[in-house]
Every structure is written in structure tokens, then in C-alpha cells.
């Protein structure tokens, strides 16, 4: 992939159906060389199916896939030497040690012993696993397993790395380390295709993001472009108790220039094109018998964009995934 004008990944009208379920529908996107591309969506959105089709673990029903300019649609093996894959669940060999697992994965890519052993040691050191190098993978903690799985994905120094939910189900400290490792890989020029349901993770790491819902890509843009229209809005959030059912309606009537949203837990979100003073709103709410406990300005984030574009509450998506993974980052 020496030609910089060639996309690292180019997908055209990719589709996959499992029985009655349309897992991926007409997905088209390009990932540039050296880009860290985010693929964001809830459970069952089609993220893993897309990665499986791109890497050769699933056959697309229709569409075209090019990896580093190589047409892989009918022959996924053609570009597998250029790619590394970190699946959503660690799939290394429990009976092998960390060091042996890395050496074995390197051998699958044709690396000779004199190259793979120093590379494995180097990665174990870099991922903070040197002390556990000779322990069996089965005895590793979740965070250690995740890190070793990422190390196995990059053991052959791939040009393109597919990362499927890399921080799901691991502790906060390990997740932070993994994010740092991803950022370092990106800095070193690796093209990264990252699927995640952690919106803040995608916001922090990715250059461009695609939102996928129900198998369809609903929006693709740079993070800055996605957030900008929302950041131009001024958002204030009130935490209110004794919120009567008619109060939101009364607010809309009393303040016609503002947009009100009643959220769960007695929260009211107010959006405006210009800065607003909170005094009149607080007084109005208190006159209506409500008690205002807090009023604060909200910095708009990618999460707001996601909710707006997909209609899915980010918190719900996160809880679903963490329940499935049995942990949380």
C-alpha cells in the first residue's frame, strides 16, 4: 500500500442477511491510509458483521470490498497479510503462555523464529505483560487478556488494524492503557478501524466516525463536523424535583424562543441559539411549585449528536453492552 491515494479500506454497497435479519444493508464507506476510523452503533447494529466481512470471516451477499486497493470481495485471503484483527472476545489459546501465544500468532504470518521472539518480548514489555509472559493465557485477568489479544493483532506489524470493541468488559485502568496503545499505534501510521459503543472513546480517539443503526450507516463525518452544529447551541440543564406533568408544556408557552426537553430523573434540558440567563427560568419553575436543585451549562458532545442522529440513548446502549460483557470500562 505505497500509493497514498489508495484508500486503506473501500466498501461499496455491502450487504449481509442472516435469515430474516438484514445485518448490514448497502454499507458504503472509505477509510483513508493512516486514519483512525470509528464505527459506532448499539448492540446488533451490524458492526461485528461488517468487520467479519472485511476480514474474511463472513461472506457478503452483495457489494464490493477493497483492502489497500486489493479486491477482496471473492478472495478475502488476498489482503490478509496486510491486516490485523482484534476480535470483541479474546480468542487466544488458553493452554499456551502469553509469550507462546504471541510467537504462534507471528508464525501464522510467516515470521521466522529470530524475528518473532524479540518482537513478542518487545510487545509484552510495551503492554506491561512482561512479568506474565510465561504464565498460561487461561490465568490472565480480563484486562491482561485484552492487552495480549491486541498485541497478537499487531504482532506482524499490520498496515490496517481492525479493533472490535477493544475496551468492553475491562477495568477503567486497563481501558485507559488500551486507549493509549491505540493512540500510539495511530501515531505510528497504522490505519485503524475501531468499532465501539463508548461514544466518548470514539470522540477522543477517532478522526472520522460512521454511525450504524439496524445495519444501515446513517451518518459519516469528522468528529469536529458532527459536533459543530450542536456546539453552536447553548444548552443548560436543570435538575428539578416536584416536576408536575404539565410543567414542560407551560415552559414552552412561557419561553417560546427556547427548546425544552424533559429527561429521565427530573432533568430538563434547555437549548437556545444565544446565551440565556437562568434566573427567569428558575423563578418560573419555583412559582410553579417545582424545586430547582441545580442548573448547569452543558458542553455538547458526540453523545448528543449520536442521540440526535440515531434516536438511541447512549446510556442505554452502554448498559446493554456492559451487561453482555459482564464488566465495564
Amino acid at each position: 500500500m505505497n500509493d497514498p491515494s489508495v484508500d486503506a479500506i473501500a466498501v461499496h454497497k455491502l450487504a449481509k442477511r442472516f435469515g430474516e435479519v438484514q445485518a448490514v444493508a448497502d454499507a458504503s464507506f472509505e477509510v483513508l491510509q493512516g486514519e483512525l476510523y470509528g464505527f459506532l452503533g448499539p448492540n446488533g447494529a451490524g458492526k461485528t458483521t461488517t468487520i467479519n466481512m472485511l476480514t474474511g470471516l463472513a461472506r457478503p451477499d452483495t457489494g464490493k470490498i477493497r483492502i489497500a486497493g486489493i479486491d477482496c470481495t471473492g478472495n478475502p485471503k488476498a489482503a490478509q497479510h496486510l491486516t490485523g484483527v482484534v476480535p470483541d472476545e479474546s480468542n487466544l489459546y488458553p493452554e499456551l503462555t502469553g509469550f507462546d501465544n504471541l510467537c504462534f500468532c507471528a508464525a501464522l504470518y510467516g515470521m521466522k523464529k529470530e524475528k518473532r521472539e524479540p518482537r513478542a518480548r518487545n510487545l509484552l514489555e510495551r503492554f506491561g505483560l512482561a512479568d506474565a509472559a510465561n504464565r498460561k493465557f487461561a490465568g490472565y485477568s480480563k484486562g491482561m487478556k485484552r492487552k495480549l489479544t491486541i498485541a497478537a493483532g499487531i504482532i506482524h506489524d499490520p498496515q490496517i488494524l481492525f479493533l472490535d470493541e477493544p475496551t468492553t468488559g475491562i477495568d477503567v485502568a486497563s481501558a485507559r492503557q488500551v486507549r493509549q496503545l491505540i493512540a500510539d499505534l495511530h501515531r505510528n501510521g497504522t490505519t485503524i478501524f475501531l468499532t465501539t459503543h463508548y461514544i466518548e472513546e470514539a470522540e477522543r480517539l477517532c478522526g472520522r466516525i460512521a454511525f450504524i443503526v439496524g445495519g444501515e450507516i446513517v451518518r459519516i463525518d469528522e468528529v469536529a463536523n458532527l459536533i459543530q452544529p450542536i456546539q453552536e447551541k447553548h444548552v443548560t440543564q436543570f435538575a428539578v424535583s416536584n416536576l408536575g406533568p404539565s410543567l414542560p408544556g407551560k415552559l414552552i408557552k412561557a419561553f417560546p424562543g427556547l427548546i425544552f426537553k424533559a429527561l429521565a430523573g427530573g432533568l430538563i434540558r434547555v437549548e437556545s441559539d444565544t446565551p440565556i440567563g437562568v434566573g427567569p427560568l428558575v423563578r418560573f419553575l419555583e412559582n410553579q411549585g417545582a424545586e430547582v436543585n441545580e442548573a448547569r451549562r452543558i458542553q455538547s458532545s458526540l453523545e448528543d449528536v449520536f442521540v440526535r442522529v440515531t434516536g438511541i440513548e447512549a446510556g442505554t446502549m452502554r448498559k446493554e453492552k456492559e451487561k453482555k460483557a459482564g464488566g465495564g470500562a
Binding site: 442472516f18 476480514t55 474474511g56 470471516l57 463472513a58 461472506r59 485471503k77 490478509q80 497479510h81 491486516t83 484483527v85 476480535p87 472476545e89 480468542n91 487466544l92 489459546y93 488458553p94 493452554e95 499456551l96 510467537c103 504462534f104 500468532c105 508464525a107 501464522l108 504470518y109 510467516g110 515470521m111 521466522k112 497478537a152
Partner: protein
Amino acid sequence: MKWWIAFWNILVKDMRAYYLKPPNISWGLIFPLAWTGMFFIKSGRGLESVLSVLPGVMVVSILFGTTSMLSVTVTFEKKGRSFDRLLLAPIPLELLMLAKTSGAILFGTANAFIPIILAAFLTDLSQAAWGAVIPAIILLAVTSTFLGLFIAVSVSEVFEAQTFSNFFRFPMIFLCGLFFPIERLPVFLRPLSYVLPPTYGTDILHGAFGIGHAIPIPIDFALLIVFCIGLFFLSLRNIQKRWII
């Protein structure tokens, strides 16, 4: 891409992780020993019957030696998703599956020599046609490995692979002429004998040990080769169809 590095490392990994473990070695030793002892005692004809039961015991050893671990090395790895790691590697599927089955072929071949070594202490094997015995052992090991592979990739659960293997293995002991001549089987069962690959390997071994064979040896070899190729490509087709969905 140096494919031989991947091939060699898959083979070595499987040998270390599965085949050379003490329980499996003991199974490999005890099983042929038990069968040999059982048939000698049952025949009640003393040491002169060693040669007549030797080919059958060798085939049983090969059959069980090759097929026992395939449900673990293939079905279990697929279930645990570590097989996906192999599918993601830039190795042709044919080579990958040859690497995954080589351990079973070697293990089955080695198992066949346990009854031979035992028999060597009890009877004179100098008249055996080793030029036919050795290739027959290897071809039998390859065929029954690929039969095990075909079973392993036709199911999704380890217990299914093990049960399905027994569904083939045990009837073959009685249908393939291992201990009872096919001509003595009921007429309606005989066609079944001729669609099972061990029949031809057993026939070669009977001929090679001077017990007498029913089919010309070159035809036995040719049919075993056809079974090897057919079962291997059927297994590949199943992997493509069922595992790369």
C-alpha cells in the same frame, strides 16, 4: 509469505497442546493394548492367532488414534473462536486444514506400531510385506483423519462431534473386515462395507501379513487415495459453507 512456517507451527502447537499430553499418550497406548489382549483372549487359539488379529487391531488403533482428538483440535477451537485466528491468517484453507490434521495423522500412524511392536515379541513378522504395510498404515491414518475432520466440521458442538464419530467408528469395527470376513456378513450389510474406507486398508494389511485378501492391492490403494481426496475436499466445502458464513 513463508507458508511452511505457519504449517510447522500449527502442527507443533497441536502436538504439544493436545497429542503429547500424558492422558492422550496413555489412551494411545492403552487402547491398542486392550484391543489386542481382548481379541487374543477371545479367540482362544493361543499365540498362533496373533497374525490373524494383528491387521484388525492395527486398524482399530489408527481409527481411534486419529479421530479422537479432532473434535477437540477443530470443533472445540471453532467453538472457542481460536479457530477464527487461523482463518484470519494469510494461509490457504487447504494448507491450514492439512496442518490441523497432520498431528492426528502422525498420532494415528504411531498408534498402529504399538500392536506391531507387541506382536513382534509373540510371533514371526519377517514374512510381512512391509512395502505394503507402511503405505497402507499411512493411507489408513490419512483417510480416517479426514473422516474425523469431515465429522468435526459437520457439527458445531464438541459432544456432537464425539457422538457422531462413534456412530461411524464402532460399526466400522464390524463392517470393514477387521475381525470378521466381509463374506460372512449378512448380504444386505455387505454393500455398506464397500463404502467404508477401512475395508480397503484392512484388505491390504491382510494381504501383507499373508492372511489373504479379497481385492487386488492396487485397487485397494487407489480407492483409499480417492477416499482421502474426497473426504478432504468435502470437509473444506463444509468449512466454507458452515464456518465462513
